[in-house]
């Protein structure tokens, strides 16, 4: 629908034609852009996809020192019931030892419950460390087998190529023993 017209034919009309055709071309361009938006936006999450973006987790069955993995928006979320030792280790680590400094207190709502998205911030692998038999890395937290990132008991990156700490999803405690993620 582009209507860019070179001036031709009658020279006296050229200026006005230019202005007119420029305006028309501009309006047409706006129209094409507006028309493209619904198509682009259709590829964003649909209404039903957005609506199911919350997950409820019952914490009662998770014994101290154990962890479970739940699905949230198609991603694994790690829920770990931390021991006093885990918490102590996490809180005694000086911020200066961290590539992405963040206090453990800022990463949890209740110290014994650590809830975070189980996706390595390097290239998206799922780190090991959920099962007791897993390699937990050198800092007692998680270890990403893809490129060797080590996370501590607060899920903070300590060594390896990952740039950031494991992400904390939005969640709320709906009771003492249950949370809603999302």
């Amino acid at each position: 629908m582009a209507n860019s017209l070179p001036p031709g034919g009658a020279a006296d009309a050229a200026t006005r034609r230019d202005f007119l055709s420029l305006t028309t071309t501009a309006v047409a361009a706006v129209g094409v852009a507006a028309f493209a938006w619904p198509f682009i936006h259709s590829m964003n999450p649909a209404a039903d996809t957005l609506a199911v973006a919350s997950t409820e987790v019952d914490l009662a069955p998770i014994a101290e020192g154990m962890a479970i993995t739940v699905m949230f928006r198609g991603k694994p979320v790690f829920v770990r019931h931390r021991t006093a030792e885990d918490i102590r280790l996490a809180r005694e680590t000086p911020l200066s030892a961290l590539p992405d400094p963040q206090r453990d207190e800022d990463r949890v709502q209740k110290p014994e419950w650590l809830i975070m998205v189980g996706i390595c911030t390097h290239l998206g692998c799922v780190p090991l460390g959920q099962r007791p038999s897993d390699n937990k890395g050198e800092f007692g937290g998680w270890f990403c087998p893809c490129h060797g990132s080590h996370y501590d008991t607060s899920g903070r990156i300590r060594r390896g190529p990952a740039p950031r700490n494991l992400e904390i999803p939005p969640y709320t405690f709906t009771s003492d023993t249950s949370i809603r993620i999302g």
Partner: protein
């Protein structure tokens, strides 16, 4: 000869590319300088419209395919999910569903224009035949597309149309089972229709390309049907036709969008919002409106095989039109005797369409027979005879003579400001 193409492009980047891949020269030659008869009317804008709507169909279709699930258990639900949950999904689907109807409206007008102005005659026979192939591909694509939402009309339309092939003697039954991939229209049928519905539009694009190549060899016919005799008879495609076609296209889009936004289901059937049920046939099965004339021809013949043969023949006969019409004069403007027969032909097509929508009973059966008889008589009897019997009106010696009201005039005179069109 090895070497660079001699480009006349000014811009150095454009020129660099053009010397190696002369797309700019090609576009300039075929879409800017390309000479077309100066007397083309808006009836010549429908080809361009058809091309734009084809692009629209492909674009909307590609997006729909991102959300559609080709499985009998999910097809209907996935379409409703598109309508309700996908962002602007309703818009994309309505554009696609109504786009099919628009495509046929535009192409039918394009075809009738060709018939009226004799655009199929020497030297444009192949151009015309490529057009008929496009029509056939469009019909196959539209039919398979209509099956995909898996509503009642989808299912029963697919059942009825695929059963047409059972009329073929001996191998008919095997062919139908082969088409279905089973013993009724079911999941294998749906998945293959989806695959082919996605494929065929690109085949259409290919044939459209050939259609345009052929058009650019012979150039456009025109309302007078007299070939341009020199530059005084033509104008460059750009800016004259580009701007004129753009305007026509915008009017067409207003028409199209009126349906999409305010009457999106006017051209469809309520029954197709009922999920397919192999146990219940809807009381009135009718194809989409663009198939109705052919459907009427099918039902006009009491014999199963005869009906199917005649229906396919009604489209295939278009291939032979360049040789059935023996008149040396192209445009009906100069064929006073042919003109009423032409308009009767148009009326017979409309009548057939109406008969196709009505139940096959009462007055509609004989009317459909009359319509069918005239449809074939027009091509097989009237056009050949008219070529022999008719005395056409005297033709103008050139386009410019007719347009400018005098003999051939120099190009300079033609460029002088004249009264407004």
């Amino acid at each position: 000869m090895v070497g660079l193409h001699k480009s006349e492009m000014k811009n150095p980047v454009v020129r660099w590319i053009d010397e190696r891949l002369p797309v700019f020269t090609l576009m300039d030659k075929e879409y800017a300088k390309f000479p077309v008869p100066r007397n083309l009317t808006y009836m010549w804008s429908f080809g361009g419209m058809a091309m734009v709507i084809l692009m629209m169909m492909i674009a909307t279709g590609v997006f729909l395919a991102m959300f559609y699930v080709p499985h009998t258990a999910h097809a209907f639900d996935s379409v409703e999910r598109i309508m309700r949950d996908v962002n602007y999904g309703w818009l994309i689907r309505y554009l696609h569903a109504n786009g099919a109807s628009m495509f046929f409206i535009v192409v039918y007008i394009h075809i009738f224009r060709g018939l009226y102005y004799g655009s199929y005659k020497y030297p444009r026979e192949l151009l015309w035949m490529l057009g008929v192939i496009i029509l056939l591909l469009m019909m196959a694509t539209a039919f398979m597309g209509y099956v995909l939402p898996w509503g009642q009309m989808s299912f029963w339309g697919a059942t009825v149309i695929t059963n047409l092939f059972s009329a073929i003697p001996v191998v008919g039954e095997s062919i139908v089972i082969w088409l279905w991939g089973g013993f009724s229209v079911d999941n294998p049928t749906l998945t293959r229709f989806f695959s082919l519905h996605y494929l065929l539009p690109f085949a259409i694009v290919g044939v459209v390309f050939l259609h345009i190549v052929a058009l650019h060899i012979t150039s456009s016919n025109n309302p007078l049907g007299v070939e341009p005799k020199g530059p005084q008879d033509t104008i460059p495609f750009h800016p004259y036709m580009t701007i004129k076609d753009s305007f026509a296209l915008l009017l067409f889009f207003i028409f199209y969008f009126t349906f999409v936004f305010f009457f999106p289901n006017y051209l469809g059937h309520a029954d197709n919002y009922i999920p397919a049920d192999p146990l219940v046939t809807p009381p009135h099965i009718v194809p989409e409106w663009y198939f109705l004339p052919f459907y009427a021809i099918l039902r006009a013949v009491p014999d199963k095989l005869g009906g199917v043969v005649l229906m396919f023949a009604s489209i295939l006969i278009l291939f032979a039109v360049p040789w059935l019409d023996r008149s040396p004069v192209r445009s009906m403007k100069f064929r006073p005797l042919a003109r009423p027969f032409f308009w009767t032909f148009v009326a017979s097509c409309v009548l057939l369409g109406y008969c196709g929508a009505m139940p096959a009973e009462g007055i509609w059966v004989p009317l459909a027979k009359v319509g069918t008889a005239y449809y074939f008589a027009y091509f097989l009897v009237i056009l050949p005879l008219l070529g022999k019997l008719e005395r056409p009106l005297p033709l103008p010696t050139s386009i410019s003579e007719r347009v400018l009201g005098g003999g051939p005039v120099p190009a300079a005179a033609a460029a002088k400001p004249m009264e407004k069109a």
